[in-house]
């Protein structure tokens, strides 16, 4: 294929991402799963890149989990999302940045619904006004937070203290990228690279010095799938989906997994523990697992932030072997120390998965 032709086709897979002035909507589950991730994003945007980002206190869940688990009707979801847009309008912003991939997918779904069925939008405006007295403008630009980090990946790389490179060999780290299903599988033209070639995380990995691994089950779901996990009887299916991915990536000996979704890092991380306890199987060298990070955590790591300040001690698969490999310093003694230096206690040690604490 001619390179110009390839570039022309690739243009169709791009999306517009606002340059500044973002209204940031946090995720309802990320702050408990990986609490450092969103704080790192806000810090990098404000302190490192000098961007204007409004961290709204009064927004609620987008209802995504309830909606996809069939307990929240779509009319309710649309009205709740309309309230989020009303908060954005009241704060004087036009660019909506969602922290969560499911929220991003749902906001897109709602905006598409209103585009095709304007009578629905009118009805939701009426619902919202009657319930709260609020009115709203639709966002001029809707982006997922990973889109924004992707947009500024080279600026982040320029300010970074470390690269995704093995400090001993000088070789790039082998990185698995995992994109949340709701990022671009539902509305391919809303994601960078579409559903077939999502480039949002690959672009970051390449810009930060790593090497992306292409493995057979690369586009498979992590296994969260809402009803797969939330309905207890289906939980084995969630685990089996993750196992399918681990088995597929294992021969390539990945150093780490990077994700852009709330559920994916949670399940790819915690299920490694469950599989190790159920079958005695670990997927990394020397009984280590494959560490799983959010893209914000990785950005924070290469910027040289203290690993414990960005919450890496809350991962089930220990991050220490990777930190050693890159050469990022950390204090093992303060891993489980609280903000005031108080000892928070060491969690229960897994039977098989290697655990670092002292």
């Amino acid at each position: 294929m001619k390179l110009e032709g390839k570039r022309l086709i690739w243009q169709e897979y791009q999306k517009e991402i606002a340059d500044d002035h973002y209204f940031y909507a946090r995720s309802c589950i990320r702050q408990t799963f990986f609490p450092g991730a969103e704080a790192v994003f806000v810090k990098i945007m404000k302190d490192e890149l000098g961007k204007d980002i409004h961290d709204e206190q009064h927004h609620t869940s987008c209802t995504g989990i309830g909606y996809h688990a069939d307990v929240v009707p779509f009319d309710t979801t649309m009205t709740v999302i309309a309230r989020q847009f009303a908060l954005m309008t009241e704060a004087g912003y036009e660019n909506y940045a969602a922290s969560c991939v499911t929220s991003f997918g749902l906001y897109t779904e709602v905006l598409e619904t209103w585009h095709h069925f304007p009578e629905k939008e009118a009805q939701v405006r009426e619902f919202l006004y009657k319930a709260t007295g609020r009115e709203f403008n639709k966002p001029k630009n809707l982006a997922h937070a990973s889109d924004i980090v992707y947009k500024f990946r080279h600026q982040i790389a320029a300010k970074a203290k470390y690269k995704l490179i093995d400090k001993n060999t000088g070789e790039p780290l082998k990185v698995v990228e995992h994109i949340g299903c709701h990022y671009s599988k539902m509305f391919p033209h809303k994601g960078i690279g579409g559903a077939e070639y999502p480039y949002v995380l690959s672009g970051m990995i390449e810009a930060w010095g790593g090497e992306v691994i292409d493995y057979p089950e690369r586009r498979h779901c992590c296994g969260f799938g809402f009803r797969q996990y939330i309905v207890q009887a289906n939980r084995g299916f969630s685990l089996s989906c993750s196992k399918k991915k681990f088995d597929s990536m294992e021969p390539y000996q990945p150093d780490m997994i990077i994700t852009n979704c709330p559920g994916c890092p949670m399940f790819l991380d915690r299920w490694q523990y469950a599989l190790s306890e159920m079958e005695g199987k670990t997927y990394g060298k020397n009984n280590n697992g494959i560490p799983v990070f959010t893209y914000e955590e990785v950005a924070g790591m290469i910027m040289g932030y203290d690993p414990w300040k960005i919450g890496l001690q809350l991962h089930q698969v220990s991050a220490e072997p990777l930190l050693d490999k890159i050469g990022i310093p950390y204090d093992p003694l303060s891993k489980f120390k609280g903000k005031n230096g108080e000892d928070l206690g060491i969690p229960e040690t897994p039977n098989y998965l290697k655990f670092y604490a002292d």
């Binding site: 939980r235 084995g236 685990l239 089996s240 196992k243 306890e277 159920m278 079958e279 098989y352």
Partner: protein, 123 residues
Amino acid sequence: MEKKVKNFGYSVTRDRQIDFDANNHDVGKIVALAEPTLHLCISCGTCSATCTASQFTEFSLRQVILLVRRGETKGLLKEVSKCMLCGKCQLVCPRNVSTRNLIIQISRALCNHEVSGSAMLKP
């Protein structure tokens, strides 16, 4: 030392993905050489529907042929031994597959494979 296993109340569903590259296609190849009508089978299941052995056991000729074609031959010899070679399947096959000879050739190839590790040996 035996590994301690925890029970969380759910289990892993084994993958049913068929890895054609990893499977052994020796048996399928030698059977097709000895009985080329193997290629005519469309897996309609008429043979299994009329089979006397399948009335009393889990035997299914349709499944046997499918597994031979996929190269999933583990444990198949025991399965094939359930056939009584009555030939009713041959009478009803809409594609005129020589099913009796097919069973004999599959058994032979599987025996050779089990004894010598290769189905390619002459009977």
